[in-house]
């Protein structure tokens, strides 16, 4: 039986096509992936992301514990601030990629991938059991939170009307739009508390909002109502995937898995080598110093072709050198785009490659990340 979010009825009412995503029955699209994608690029889109997991970590040992299990340096965060980070095993393989927020002194919130909740929580609990650096409370709060992402260049024009300021949290801001990128604060909505972060997974400005199940339907309706004159559309996981692929954000299970390191995946800037011990740190330091056997690259098709898709072979000079891990038709660019792993010798931008699609090779070129840049 697939799990359903508190917005399931709203999706049905909007005529969404629903699919199984990590055990959740989620909307893949409402009208058209292309239309929803372009609404987010040029106006606004609202996504149900209630399937994402939440873990709270608190106590006097929370900071030291998180710094031992995550790659980024959590000590850089002040209250009301978040960072992208990765959780690695001892071989440097990625267990999950996530956002870590510091809500107040010794109180942290981790936002993790839906498909990884059980694995992450089991790993964190086993690591916590060995931890001797102070008091530590770890709790899977995934059942307490529903979540919405509202993304696009026009969101800042109406979000303060939907969620009025000032904040009601340790971190003080006068309004939602006073949040800077990666900042998070609590706000009152319907006499309940919401957490609003200026983050997203689309490459556009926008916000991710955590709320109890009981409030999420009202928030969803109000965003669509107030955002309507600004061109807001409900957007599904299909558009979420094409948007993140254009800006080369990794998706767990595609760019990242337990046998892939952050260095190979090109997210080494979120690994704080100098911070002291952390899981996988020695392997990652060695890879940084001596190099990796494969690297994540982004590519564009240079001739008319079917859209590239995961698992298609990548060719270079008559050699099969790698595999596509994400691929799609780019709604913004109107051509096929993707990401894949290849040996470092062939990973430079402007390298001509070919993508094998149903037995035929089509011309492509390696490009710098992100593939899509706002003009």
């Amino acid at each position: 039986m697939l799990k359903r979010t508190a917005l399931y009825a709203a999706h049905q009412k909007l005529g969404a096509k629903l699919i199984d995503f990590g055990g959740w029955e989620m909307p893949v699209q409402y009208t058209s992936i292309t239309d929803e994608h372009l609404a987010v690029r040029h106006a606004a889109g609202v996504f149900d992301i209630s399937h994402m997991g939440e873990v709270t970590v608190s106590g006097s040992g929370a900071e030291a514990f998180l710094n031992s299990v995550l790659t980024n340096d959590i000590r850089k965060l002040v209250s009301g601030q978040g960072q992208y980070t990765l959780m690695c095993n001892r071989s440097g393989g990625v267990i999950d990629d996530l956002y870590a927020y510091r809500l107040s002194v010794n109180v942290y919130l981790l936002i993790i991938n839906a498909s990884r909740i059980e694995v992450d929580v089991a790993w964190l609990q086993s690591e916590a059991a060995k931890f001797k650096g102070g008091e530590l409370n770890l709790s899977d709060a995934s059942h307490h939170y529903a979540a919405i992402a509202v993304q696009g260049p026009r969101v800042k024009e109406f979000i303060n009307t939907v969620i009025p300021g000032p904040s009601a949290s340790v971190f003080q801001v006068a309004s939602v739009t006073d949040l800077k990128k990666n900042q998070i604060a609590g706000f009152h909505f319907d006499n309940h508390n919401l957490l609003v972060a200026r983050t997203g997974y689309t490459g556009e400005d926008g916000f991710e909002i955590l709320a109890p199940d009981s409030d999420i339907q009202h928030l969803w309706d109000k965003l669509l109502e107030v955002g309507q004159p600004f061109g807001i559309k409900p957007a599904g996981l299909g558009a979420r995937d094409t948007l993140r692929t254009e800006v080369c954000y990794p998706l767990y299970g595609h760019e990242l898995d337990e046998n892939t390191t952050p260095i190979e995946a090109g997210v080494g800037s979120f690994v704080a080598h100098e911070k002291g011990y952390f899981n996988g740190g020695s392997v990652l330091a060695q890879q940084k110093a001596t190099g990796v056997k494969r690297k994540l690259i982004a590519f564009k098709m240079t001739e008319k072709s079917p859209p590239p898709r995961p698992q298609y072979a990548i060719w270079w000079d008559d050699f099969k050198i790698g595999q596509v891990v994400s691929g799609t038709q780019s709604p913004s660019l109107g051509i096929g785009i993707g990401m894949g792993y290849v040996p470092p010798e062939q990973a430079k931008p402007d390298t001509k490659i070919e993508i094998e699609i149903r037995g035929k090779n089509y011309a492509a070129v390696i490009v710098p990340k992100p593939i899509y840049k706002k003009s």
């Binding site: 992936i33 079917p306 859209p307 799609t328």
Partner: protein, 127 residues
């Protein structure tokens, strides 16, 4: 609701066929294009290719997925519609007219009897 023209026959796998003597035109139904949405690529069979009934002989790709198109009848491909190759969105906007896929010379006209009537196809898609 999806448009199901009354002068066409239908395959369970959502292709339509317009029969004229021993030749026919094949495309995908309005219901199929609405399910796929955002068609971005169409791959058609070579002219002269012999296909069997139910054989995968074309591919239609939306942003999200690639789908095989199965021939509703056996025969030889006599023409393909280069307009849908150049402009795949035609399949979305005119699935049962300008968005046709290929013409075929039937090798066994009796196969036509196994195809669905417009009413039967409407029942299948819940229309």
């Amino acid at each position: 609701m999806s448009n199901v023209p009354s002068d066409l026959k239908y395959a369970k796998s959502h292709e339509w066929i317009r029969i004229s003597g021993d030749t026919a035109t094949v495309g995908i139904t309005d219901h199929a294009q609405a399910e796929l949405t955002d068609i971005v690529f169409v791959e058609l069979p070579a002219v002269g290719r012999q296909v069997k009934v139910g054989e995968a002989c074309a591919v239609v790709e939306s942003v999200k997925t690639a789908s095989d198109i199965y021939s509703p009848v056996s025969g030889e491909i006599t023409a393909v519609n280069s307009a849908v190759v150049d402009n795949p969105a035609l399949v979305n906007t005119a699935p049962d007219s300008d968005g046709w896929f290929y013409k075929i010379k039937l090798s066994n006209t009796a196969e036509v009897n196994a195809l669905l009537s417009p009413d039967d196809y409407k029942k299948q898609i819940g229309g």
